[in-house]
Every structure is written in C-alpha cells, then in structure tokens.
Amino acid sequence: MPLNVIACIKQTPATGAIQLDQKGEIVTSAMTYGISPLDEYALEEALRIKERVPGSWTAALTMGPAKAQEILRESIARGCDAVYHLSDDAFEGSDTYATSYILSQGIRKIIAEKGKVDLVICAKQASDGETGQVGPAIAAWLDWPNVSFVKKIEETTDKIIRVVRMMEDGQDVVEMALPALISVVKEIAEPRLPSLKGKMAAKKAVIPTWKAADISADAAKIGPGGSPTVILKKELPPKRSGGMKIDGATAQEKARKLVEKMKELKLL
C-alpha cells in the first residue's frame, strides 16, 4: 500500500562559534544556513520509503522565514514530490510548544488536501535548539503514536509501522498503528546528494507558502504569546581556560606526568 510521508525539516546555521551583539542577540549575518544535519536523515528515510513502497508520496515541510525555502528547494532536488512552507511573522518567536502546534496544523491541511498522511518523520533534534521536543509534540497535537531515536524501519504496511529504537541498554522493536510519527537518528540512512536534473527542477519550482490563517492556527497558540517558555538570556559558553601541555623528553615521561595530573584530580 502506498504511503504518504512527510519529513519535517528545519533550516539552521552551520555549527560553529556564535557571536552575540550588544543586546545579547545572535549575529546571524556571518552564518551559513542549510538543512539541519540530522534532518537530512529524516528526509533521506522519507525518500527511501518512496523507493521501497511503489506509489508512495514524499513531501518536506518546514516552518521558517522566506529564506527557509532554500532547504525546500534542496528537498525537491533530492526527489521530494511536494514541499510546504509555513511562514508568517506571527510564527516568529515560537517555542517548541507553539512550533509543534503550527507544524501539526500544517500537517492537518496537507491531510485535507491529500486525503491522508501515514507517517511523519522528524530528526532526533535540530542542530540549533537541540530540544528534540518538536517531533513528539507534533504527535501529541495530532493524537498520533510516536517513537523517538529510531534507527531502522523494519516494516511498513497500510496499517502499521515497525521500527527499531536505539536505547542505552540495547534496542527495542516497537510497532505502531498508522498514522504515526517517528524521530530518527543518523544510523537510519546515509543521506543522498541531489541530482543535477533535480536541481534544475528545484530552481523553477513554485513553493506553496501558508500563513497562520491558511492553516487555521489559533492565535493564542502561536508566537511568543502562545509559547509557555521564554529565553531569558543568551550567553557564550565559558572559555575553557588555557590547557596544559604535557611535555617530556620521552613518551614514558609524558605518560608519567599525565598520570600524576590525573591522580591530582582524583580521576584514577
């Protein structure tokens, strides 16, 4: 049975040192943006389902400013059948609660248009906020089952999905009735590169953009007003004070000195 699959992705800055301005806000001008690295795995698995289950349909969904369309074009270049952009000034400043609500409303609209969505795939977490809360929270809004830390999809039918979940003490095989949501880890699939023909198609693609009203979003649940949490302060991490170089004429001597240091710090 063909499945309709949505990958939820986010545009994030490349990981690296952060600069703050005088107001304590992140200086974004020097940052380069792309698909959040872990989202690439979510997108890849969504595309692979399309290849495994003939007739399936794969879309990418993102919430973000106009610039976020870049990652949707990249998704088309990699082979997505459709992409959706949720973008509205009113969405800005949403925390995970509000963001997951907005995305779930977007998914509801896609369901209304496509007839059904069977599976939503998110990453373990985004590379900027790193909360990992948005995926499971989307499932809560939709009242769908969800599993996180998924490293493999074992089977999908028209009724269920069975996945392998990575745990600290081993792995669980978990089965859910569809529709469902999974959050995936890197091990699930190696992301593909786009194709040249895909890139050409992506350049020309017209991307649907939905505002709050288009997805019937409740104004009380979006943006800062709809967010239970607030960021009080942003700070750069304390600099690790200059390390100590363990020198010695021989490797033996260096080993001895290092062990002494470890002893001093009670690390042995």
């Binding site: 593909r192 590169l193 786009p194 194709s195 040249l196 023909k197 890139k199 050409m200």
Partner: protein, 419 residues
C-alpha cells in the same frame, strides 16, 4: 582547497562543480585509500554518479544528456580527480567510449547506445591498444572478417581502462589487412557478445581503483550495424575521438595536481621542524608557488581550449540533428583544420604539470609524503598514467609539431600560389 581563477563558468556549470565536489568529498574520499590498496572498483560510486546525473553532462539532451560539452565533462572529471584520479576514470573512460558514438554514430546508433551511457546505466570503454600496437596504432593485428551482415573479430587488446566493468566497447580491428591502416575499422561491441572475453586484470602503479584488462576476441560475431563511421574509417574515428577526449585526461591531471597540493599544504602548515611550521621556509614556499602557478596555467589552457571546442561541437551537434549527417561530417564542414594541436597541447601540458606538482608535493611532505598512510604518494602514482595513456607525451609533441609544420607548409603553398 586551493583557490583558482574564476573562469566565468555558467550557473549550470557551477552547479555541476558543486555537486561533483560534494559527491567526491562525501562519498569518494572515505573509500579512496581502500580502493587503491585493494584495486577495488567502487560500483557504489558509479551508482552515486549515476543518480546525480553526472555521466551525461556533456551529451545532447536529445540522447539523455544535459546538453553541455567538453567543459562540463572536464569539470566533473577534475572535481572527482581532486579526490581520486583512479575513480575519476570511470567517468572519463566512459567519455572515451562514448565520444566515438557521438561523433561518428548514425542517428540510429546514437539512439541505441547514448541514452544508457548518458544515464550512467552502462559504462563505456575504448579498445585500440594491442601488445604490438601502442603509439603506433596502425600496427594493430586484430582482424574483422566480413561474413554476410556480420564481422568476425579475432585478436586481443591490451591495457583497456574500465575493462570488464564497461558494457559498451569501442573496438578497433582491421577489416581489410591488404589495405593496411586504411582497413582499420571501429566497432561497437557489447559485453557478453559470444567470443568476447576478458583476460588478465593488470596490476598497476596508479589509478588502481579502475580495472585495466586484456580483451580477447575469438571468432566474435559483431553485426555490421555496429560499425562506426564505415569500414576503413577507424583511424578517423580514433583521431576525431582523441581530439575531444584528450582534454579529459588534462582535466584528470589537473584535478590530481590540485588534490595533491591541497593535501600537502594542509600537512606542511602544521608540520614543524626547527621549531616552526615548514611552510614558513622559503624553500617550501617557492615550491608551493611553482606548483600553484603551473596548475593555474594548465587550468586556463584546458578551459580555454574547451570553450573553443564546445562552440564548434555544439554547433555541429545541432546541425547534425537537423541534417541527419553525423556530427563528424558537420564538424569537418565547420572547421576543416582539426583541433588536434590544441587538444594535444592540453594533454601534454596538464599531464606534465600533474607529474611535476605531485612529485614536488611528495618532496615537500618529506618522509610522510612517501608513506601509503598519507594520500600524497597516491596522487603521484595516479598522475603518471596521464603522461602515458591516450598517447604518450612524446606522441603529443610529435602531433603538435606536425600540425605546426603543416600549418606553415599550407601557408607557404598558399603564398606561392598567390605569387
């Protein structure tokens, strides 16, 4: 990576560069050492290149390509060769097996073979060299005896790149030994044709990720419909092909040189001797300057020649599509003086640069440069073949000189007539 002059490529060409670079860095770099060490041909990379549409960048859209020219093929080859010169050969070698069909093929032949080659579904190979016929291709001994609507091939080919992994082979055989070189004919032979088998896999100094094989033809029946350019036109097929394919070797060579220099500079920036990074020594700095200058000169030559060639090639392709004549026929109409000289210059110069640069890179890195754990020595081994295959550097010089002598002879004759 070493910055090189912006040669004003189109947006599309830049996309090709970006994608090839991404693919090479992400997919090829992690496995290149293993492929070299184990002489392993990475089919998974062929699949990646295929999915990325990088095999057919230089072929007309009508045959499943992206409508580019030699520039596009060279951009892919260069980017892949920056990471692995051996793996780059699956693209460049397929180009060598494809160009004869593009230039000499009838409409029917092009429709039959080009889409699979453009889509990377099949790899191509070019088989002219024999044990006794290297630089002197006219001495080839493989025969093709006409038998009804077939030819029967007998003989063997040596040192064939993409050997065994390719599905489509351009094979040169003499259909009329009495006529000498004028009997030489080019055939398209599909892998699996009865009587066509593979001999030993060669063990090579470099480009070890690409299989080099001996080919055997034992009463191998090939349909006459597979003859390219007509019986006896084999040497034209070969020469016309080389005119367009040799820049590909140049691109491979430049890629190898750039990759080696990049690896070397990363190392010598941190390698300390006498209490300072060795890049701070003038002896090293001058070597870097020479390497980078040579690369820049070679790249400019390569892409300038490509630019000129592509204008002619694209025009010939579009005329051929309208007229039904072969691309080669249209080319001759367009540009009677052949492109041999420039194409040979590109190959000669770029391959010499690759050898000089990679040798210097090993030298700059010292002991570690000589070790197999470090990729620089591999670049040097991979570079060597670019001075040898598709005509040695000595043969390129011969051809360049010959073309110049002819130019002057023609000019002198014309003057004499005018007087």
């Amino acid at each position: 990576m070493l910055q090189t002059l912006d040669l004003e490529f189109t947006e599309e060409q830049k996309e090709i560069v970006n994608l090839s670079r991404q693919l090479a860095e992400k997919k090829i770099k992690p496995i290149r050492m293993k492929c070299d060490e184990e002489e392993h041909f990475p089919w998974e990379i062929v699949e990646e290149l295929r999915k990325a549409d990088l095999f057919g960048v230089y072929l007309p859209a009508e045959y499943g390509g992206l409508g580019g020219g030699n520039t596009e093929l060279c951009l892919v080859t260069e980017e892949v060769a920056k990471v692995c010169g051996g793996i780059a050969l699956c693209v460049a070698g397929t180009g060598l097996g494809t160009i004869p069909i593009l230039l000499m093929g009838s409409e029917e032949q092009k429709k039959r073979w080009l889409p699979d080659l453009a889509g990377g579904k099949k790899l191509g190979a070019f088989a002219i060299t024999e044990a006794e016929a290297g630089s002197d291709a006219t001495a080839l001994k493989t025969t093709a005896k006409k038998d009804g609507d077939h030819y029967i091939l007998n003989g063997s080919k040596s040192f064939i790149s993409n050997g065994e992994v390719a599905e489509i082979y351009i094979v040169f055989a003499n259909a009329n030994p009495a006529k000498g070189p004028r009997g030489i004919t080019a055939f398209v032979v599909d892998k699996g044709t009865p009587g066509f088998t593979f001999g030993k896999k060669e063990q090579k100094m470099g480009i070890r990720a690409n299989p080099t094989y001996e080919l055997f033809f034992d009463n191998c029946r090939v349909p006459a419909a597979n003859v390219l350019g007509g019986e006896g036109y084999g040497l034209f097929v070969a020469q016309a092909t080389f005119d367009f394919s040799r820049p590909g070797v140049g691109a491979q060579a430049i890629g190898i040189a750039e990759g080696a220099l990049d690896e070397a500079i990363h190392y010598i920036r941190v390698r300390k001797q006498f209490g300072q990074p060795i890049i701070s020594f003038q002896a090293i700095q001058h070597m870097i300057a020479d390497c980078a200058t040579r690369i820049e000169a070679a790249r400019s030559l390569l892409y300038n020649v490509n630019k000129g060639m592509d204008v002619v090639l694209k025009e010939a392709v579009s005329r051929s599509l309208a007229s039904g004549k072969t691309v080669y026929q249209e080319l001759r109409g367009l540009k009677p003086e052949r492109l041999t000289k420039y194409s040979a210059m590109v190959k000669l110069f770029c391959s010499d640069v690759a050898m000089q640069v990679t040798t210097d890179c090993v030298q700059m890195c010292g002991g570690i440069g000589y070790m197999r754990d470090f990729p620089v020595e591999k670049y040097m081994r991979d570079a060597k073949v670019t001075q040898i295959y598709e005509g040695t550097s000595q043969m390129q010089r011969n051809e360049i000189a010959m073309m110049i002598i002819k130019e002057y002879a023609t000019a002198a004759k014309a003057q004499a007539v005018a007087v």
